[in-house]
């Protein structure tokens, strides 16, 4: 059944209890919401870490307000963090929270709408002042006007209790008040029986420079924990057993962090220096931030003057024998288009990472979308084909980055990697790979003349398998040569206006991309009796997968195939599509992949599109697919 449909049972469990008792749950969704200044992201991170320790499967979703900080206590200022944990493997951060922690009226107002009846709401009553209520347009106090009947409301004076708890501590009132998020964390940690040692260690590390703050935050955390233990209001404590997960070492990871580590890995496994040319842009900036910390892997990061310079510098570095990488988001991809076209002509390795956000134009920079597939596939003048791939989940960003590097290095081509804000900032447990098992990406630079006469060098003489041209880096004796953006004669690379040569080169550049060896797409159809195939790409993997599972559990057969490679498409895709009566393609755009599938395979694929800046919910996909499965 759909993931969110356990909610009631959960709340019932809560109410039904008398004295403190412990209840088992298989899954919980908690949302921490507060003002931008309340440290909700940190609180969520810590709760996630504790939960990871415990071995639950996890999926998280931070929700940042717009880039600019709004005034304290206003709706646009609300920041939230949702964590979903379970004793089985889950695929999404959950559609609807079972528990909402609301640090102020704005947080309550902004989030209560997402709660199913019966959900627990923990509110910081201290913040429910006339002024704060007015700020967000609450005429009456929702904690008193009965508008929250039907929810399990837990009013807690978080701020004052924290301040009281820290009276002994040698910290300012302001610092004490700031620690209220740790009080909340302590309370929730108690409620869900989370191990707290890692949090205490974390706080010591974080405030190493100011021990008094460490002590204060730890005290606040413990106060929250003890409050749960003692207060009457929380009569039940919950447990969620560890999930059966593959043995190994895990960490929780966001997509941007995994992407950065994947690039580091690509450098290590190719033995090449990495050069990242980037211009900051939400939500891609973190990859630049992260990589700039890893210079020890012979990684150079450059914050360029703009996106064009960023990709230009990366291309220059690739020309010099490094793996050139550039990271950006939609508006930046548009600006890089001309240089990508040059890279296509030069046939040099280049990795372009687009962490997609909602467009067009500046759009909604902190919201997610999948609408850059068009520009990735078709956004260059002339016939300028490139390879395009997309990660399906936060941890998958690691492997996607390595795959992008593999294609770029093996085939000497630009590769566009389409991540998005959802995978970039979402997190999940990641089974750490064995480094030695990662693909070997070493390449051979040209060192010798390759002409028949044994003395001339032909920069556009191709490898018959890969159609890749030699990578002859400056500094190599005997191979001096010139390349450029004008059309090049086959083999010699000299400037050529010959009509037949141009036709040949245009087709060859297209053939190079088609020739890229990509794994076949896999179909998940456990009982093999599905007539409907759901085809997706990128970050929709989680919600689509959850919806398919839910349908199967209800005896409705449905098959799922998810594309990592969008150009070239897997060789078996045509057969896969042909094997089903109906193909449904859910996308967070107006049907960009569907367009390609229809054109290439003449399959009357059905599009399901939502462009809200938010990931799909499993529930909406479940009901949509149910329809198709039942009524074709």
């Amino acid at each position: 059944m759909a993931e969110q449909s356990e909610v009631t049972s959960h709340a019932d469990a809560a109410r039904s209890g008398g004295a403190k008792s412990v209840r088992q749950l298989d899954r919980v969704v908690i949302r921490f919401a507060g003002d931008s200044g309340d440290g909700m992201q940190l609180t969520g991170d810590r709760f996630t870490a504790e939960t990871a320790q415990l071995g639950n499967d996890i999926s998280t979703l931070p929700n940042f307000p717009a880039e600019i900080r709004a005034p304290a206590g206003t709706l646009p200022g609300v920041s939230s963090f949702q964590v979903h944990f379970a004793d089985y493997d889950i695929l999404t951060p959950g559609d609807a929270p079972n528990v909402l922690v609301a640090m102020n009226p704005a947080a309550l107002k902004a989030n209560v709408g997402d709660l199913p009846r019966g959900a627990d709401i923990i509110v910081n009553t201290d913040e429910f002042t006339k002024r704060n209520l007015a700020k967000v347009g609450y005429a009456a106090n929702p904690l008193e006007d009965g508008s929250l009947d039907g929810y399990a409301l837990h009013p807690v004076a978080l701020t004052s209790m924290t301040i009281r708890a820290l009276e002994e501590q040698s910290v300012s009132k302001k610092d004490a008040e700031r620690a209220k998020n740790m009080f909340a964390l302590g309370l929730l940690s108690w409620m869900y029986s989370r191990p707290h040692s890692s949090t205490l260690r974390f706080l010591e590390r974080k405030f190493a420079a100011r021990p008094e703050l460490a002590a204060a935050n730890i005290a606040a955390f413990k106060a929250g924990w003890n409050f749960g233990e003692t207060t009457e209001d929380f009569s039940v404590r919950y447990e969620v057993k560890p999930a059966r997960m593959q043995p190994g070492t895990y960490r929780n990871v966001t997509g941007n962090a995994a992407l950065a580590m994947g690039l580091v890995a690509a450098g290590v496994r190719s033995r090449l220096p990495i050069f990242l040319g980037a211009y900051p842009i939400t939500p891609a900036s973190d990859v630049l931030h992260e990589l700039s910390k890893h210079k020890r892997f012979n990684i150079t990061t450059m914050q360029a003057e703009d996106e064009i310079a960023a990709i230009g510098a990366a291309l220059g570095a690739s020309y010099g024998g490094a793996l050139g990488v550039t990271t950006t988001s939609g508006p930046g991809v548009a600006l890089k288009s001309e240089t990508i076209s040059l890279a296509v002509a030069l046939e040099l390795p280049l990795v372009i990472i687009d962490v997609q956000r909602a467009g067009p134009s500046t759009g909604m920079p902190t919201k997610t979308e999948q609408a850059d597939l068009n520009i990735a596939l078709f956004g260059r003048h002339g016939e300028a084909p490139v390879a395009v791939i997309a990660p399906r989940s936060p941890s998958d960003c690691f492997h996607a980055a390595i795959e992008a590097a593999r294609i770029a290095l093996t085939y000497r081509t630009p590769v566009i990697l389409l991540s998005d804000n959802y995978v970039a900032n979402g997190s999940e447990p990641w089974l750490l790979p064995d480094v030695e098992s990662l693909p070997d990406l070493r390449v051979e630079f040209a060192t010798e003349p390759n002409g028949d006469d044994g003395t001339t060098f032909l920069p556009y003489l191709r490898d018959p398998q890969t159609l890749a041209r030699p990578w002859a880096v400056p500094g190599t004796p005997g191979l001096t040569h010139r390349i450029g953006g004008l059309e090049k004669a086959d083999k010699t690379g000299d400037i050529s206006y010959d009509p037949a040569n141009h036709d040949f080169m245009v087709r060859t550049r297209a053939a190079r991309i088609e020739a890229i060896d990509v794994p076949p797409v896999e179909v998940e159809d456990p009982d093999g009796d599905a007539r409907v195939l759901v085809l997706g790409w990128g970050s929709t993997y989680g919600p689509i997968g959850a919806a398919c599972r839910a349908l199967r559990q209800r005896g409705l057969p449905v098959a799922q195939a998810h594309l990592r490679h969008l150009a070239p498409l897997p060789a078996n895709l045509g057969d896969v599509l042909a094997a089903y009566d109906r193909v449904v393609i859910p996308e967070m755009n107006l049907g960009q992949l569907a367009h390609v599938i229809r054109a290439k395979f003449l399959v009357d694929a059905l599009s399901y599109n939502k462009v809200r800046g938010l990931p799909f919910t499993a529930a909406e996909l479940e009901s949509t697919l149910e329809d198709v499965v039942k009524n074709g």
């Binding site: 870490a49 990871a52 320790q53 071995g55 997960m245 593959q246 043995p247 190994g248 070492t249 895990y250 960490r251 929780n252 580590m261 580091v264 890995a265 290590v268 220096p273 050069f275 040319g277 210079k295 020890r296 892997f297 012979n298 990684i299 150079t300 450059m302 360029a304 003057e305 703009d306 064009i308 310079a309 230009g312 510098a313 291309l315 220059g316 570095a317 690739s318 020309y319 010099g320 024998g321 490094a322 050139g324 001309e338 240089t339 030069l346 750490l432 480094v435 400056p474 500094g475 004796p477 005997g478 001096t480 040569h481 010139r482 390349i483 450029g484 953006g485 004008l486 000299d494 400037i495």
Partner: protein, 344 residues
Amino acid sequence: MAEPVALKLTAKDFKSDQEVRWCPGCGDYAILAAVQSFMPELNIPRERIVFVSGIGCSSRFPYYMNTYGMHSIHGRAPAIATGLSVSRPDLAVWVVTGDGDALSIGGNHLIHALRRNVNLKILLFNNKIYGLTKGQYSPTSEIGKITKSTPTGSADSPFNPISLALGAEATFVARTLDSDRKHLQSVLRAAATHQGSAIVEIYQNCNIFNDGAFDTVKEPATRDDYLIRLEHGQPVTFGAEGQWCVVHPPGGFGLAVRETATVAPADIVVHDATVPDPAYAFALSRLPEADLRHTPIGVFRSVRRPSYDELVRDQVDAAVGKRTRTPEDELGALLGSGDTWTVL
């Protein structure tokens, strides 16, 4: 970057197999010949030299040099060359660009390369016109210029490339002429040995679309009175008999030209390209008048500032140097950093 062993290269060694294709009489030929015959001096193996250009007649230059070369896209050469130079300190990276390529579409990359002091030698072929696209005005064309795109005259006052470079914190700035090989090469020599960005404006005649743009500083009749040849450590005088000189009018602002006879020798400005304050070089850059009267050529400014390349490489090398583990082990450590847990 000089090599211990003498490579005994000649100009011929720097000619590529490509047929040179500029209009007969184009100033680019002279510059190409001057560069090719200068290169051997550097005693750098050809494979360690890279010419990166944008688009324009001038930007075809790399195809004619038997070195590594990239004819990139319009205006982007400084950006591309920056990535190459920073990641390959062993190379000598030269940028060839035009007044449109460098100052119109490429203006931002140019000023940022100069600000960063990237280790690039930038040759700006200034013919005050768009040659390749057949004669539209450029950011260095004089105001009121009548061209295909401005039949009633252009409405924008031009950039002074030297002033712009100085305003962008350039550490080495010079100007020379396509037609004066000796001077051109002396400037190349100074530029080549500069650590960091060196920008050289080369007045270049486009005999098809802007013929004679620099005649006043080239014609025997006028050049002596129009050209100011800057020599480090020498008083700034010019004219056939040095009858003109440059002074720093007391109390006044900037620099001015006076009759040498009327000035106390001590008051004549002695050229020093190494003054830290760019205000001096900037003042020099303002001497020329619309007809090119009082045009200084030579090295305006040459000061030492750590190059972007050095600073960036040092950070990377230091970090790599501190590494004790194999790359794979270091990677393993990175992946396993932060909170981890183990499932048995």
